[in-house]
Symmetry: C2
């Protein structure tokens, strides 16, 4: 079994998949390792309208297309978590939960994970009424009252998706206006989704499953209880940066990896691409960064050889 | 007729089209102006295998898909060349060959144009045997001897395309190895395309149309004449930077616009995206830069308002 690579890509979201394809196409022996399945958080996007080339495409469908395409070039090991990367003089050792590989260069494209709200009931009802993904779980809540928590693009998309499939949807947002792009805001308004402004979820209650939330209205300074059967969390993401921390790669104050325009980090032959670098978190941007990171790795290794 | 915009995008290649879509979706009154037709140089790519989401897609087909998609949001004025952009205190005046528009912000995505070889016969036989685009003109040369000039990705792609449609293909390259990605090199080798190494075209000869080229072999220091009916130039591109020059936007020594990671130039409310910024010239990268530039314009204008 092959254990020695030019380039190992950690994470197989859009950034990592694209990096893998570009790596192999430029002639590098490349491997992509992914702790879950291909696609990353893009899998959870109900519908993407702004990925150039597709008027409308489901996040999972797009990820599957990419997987089929890049798999013609590069091997992707799914369900294998990278635990540690040890830096040697010329090579690095990538240690996963069940194997280890040598590589000359590494691309970190570990993405982000959902931020937690941190309220009572959140752990208890996760998967029993609380969800982070409308496309994954929305169907179970048809004709039922649900609430989406958040005010950004993804919160609005989740709300629209749930409304479309026939849920009774409310949106709860802690501020007095949404951060989401105006186009999405207008669509939301047209869809008639009720928005609870200046409000936060204080507690999630239920029996076997969610039955209600306790809402605190910051402006009126009152609490009330709203009957819902589903709570969809869309309160943002945080970087999955454990490897970066362990490798002492420079990050910004929010924990996102800092790169230059060629996706180089402060460590030699270590690159980063996709949501883990912060910035404009869009599928097309992640793909581009993956392409650039692999190209930089190719150029840097060529210079060494 | 509307003459007053938040954002005007100059150039409707993949970068400009994506910028237009993101501009409108974020709520900016946006216009895209293009001197030719949508798609830019990507139209000429015979086959794109590394745009994430499509295993194989013609450059023109991909550009058409993008045009159909972004046209649902943004108006694109084709066949209207921007002649000048005048900078005011708060607004800019975009002057085209037949109109003028006010805008608060501008994205330059004017791309690149084909570099010329600069040899005898090149002007004379342009369009009469000399072509810069195999997809556009290759069909006329089926079963005929043709030569592709260059050594990069696009030269190899052009050669493969011509070989596939049944031309007798040679490639002429001034160095002893190709710059193209290894994957393409291997495919070229398999296809059996003959390569003339260390050789340059000295002259292109013919009667009404091309009949031959004079080749100079730099290693053996000899000249000979090769009978060909088509000459396909793929010797690189140079930036279309007249507007940037006129606006005094900072460029690098090769004439590409310098931007930060948010696609901002040195001028306020002037951004650049796509091949005009140099770097990794790939469709997916151009699209991403367009998305980022429009997002930066949106953020900057929001701060001003």
């Amino acid at each position: 079994m092959k254990k020695d690579y030019d380039l190992i890509v950690v994470g197989a979201g859009p950034a990592g998949m694209t990096a893998g394809m570009y790596g192999v196409r430029s002639g590098l022996e490349t491997l992509v390792v992914e702790k879950g399945i291909c696609g990353g958080l893009s899998n959870e996007a109900p519908e993407i309208e702004n990925y150039p080339g597709f008027k409308k495409v489901g996040g999972m469908e797009l990820a599957e297309k990419m997987k089929a395409q890049v798999s013609e070039y590069v091997e992707i090991k799914e369900l294998e978590e990278v635990k540690k990367i040890e830096l040697g003089e010329k090579e690095m050792m990538v240690i996963t939960e069940n194997d280890s590989y040598l590589t000359k260069a590494v691309i970190i494209s570990t993405g982000t994970k959902h931020r937690r709200l941190g309220v009572k009931g959140e752990d208890e009802f996760l998967g029993r009424g609380i969800s982070y993904c409308a496309t994954c779980d929305g169907f179970f809540f048809r004709d039922k009252p649900v609430i989406v928590v958040g005010g950004g693009d993804s919160a609005v998309r989740e709300a629209l998706y749930l409304k479309n499939i026939g849920c009774e949807v409310m949106l709860i947002h802690r501020r007095e206006k949404l951060r989401a792009e105006r186009y999405l805001q207008k669509t939301l308004e047209k869809a008639g989704v009720h928005i609870l402004w200046n409000s936060v979820v204080k507690e999630i209650k239920g029996d076997k499953t969610v039955r209600s939330i306790v809402r605190y209205d910051k402006e009126r300074e009152i609490e009330d209880e709203l009957l819902v059967e589903g709570v969809f969390m869309s309160i943002g993401e945080e970087p999955v940066n454990e490897l970066a921390v362990q490798m002492e790669i420079k990050m910004d104050k929010n924990g996102y990896i800092i790169t230059d325009k060629s996706q180089r980090t402060n460590l030699e032959r270590a690159y980063a691409a996709g949501d883990i670098t912060g910035g404009v978190k869009q599928v097309v941007v992640a793909c581009a960064e993956g392409a650039i990171a692999a190209t930089s790795a190719y150029n840097d290794l060529l210079e060494l050889s």
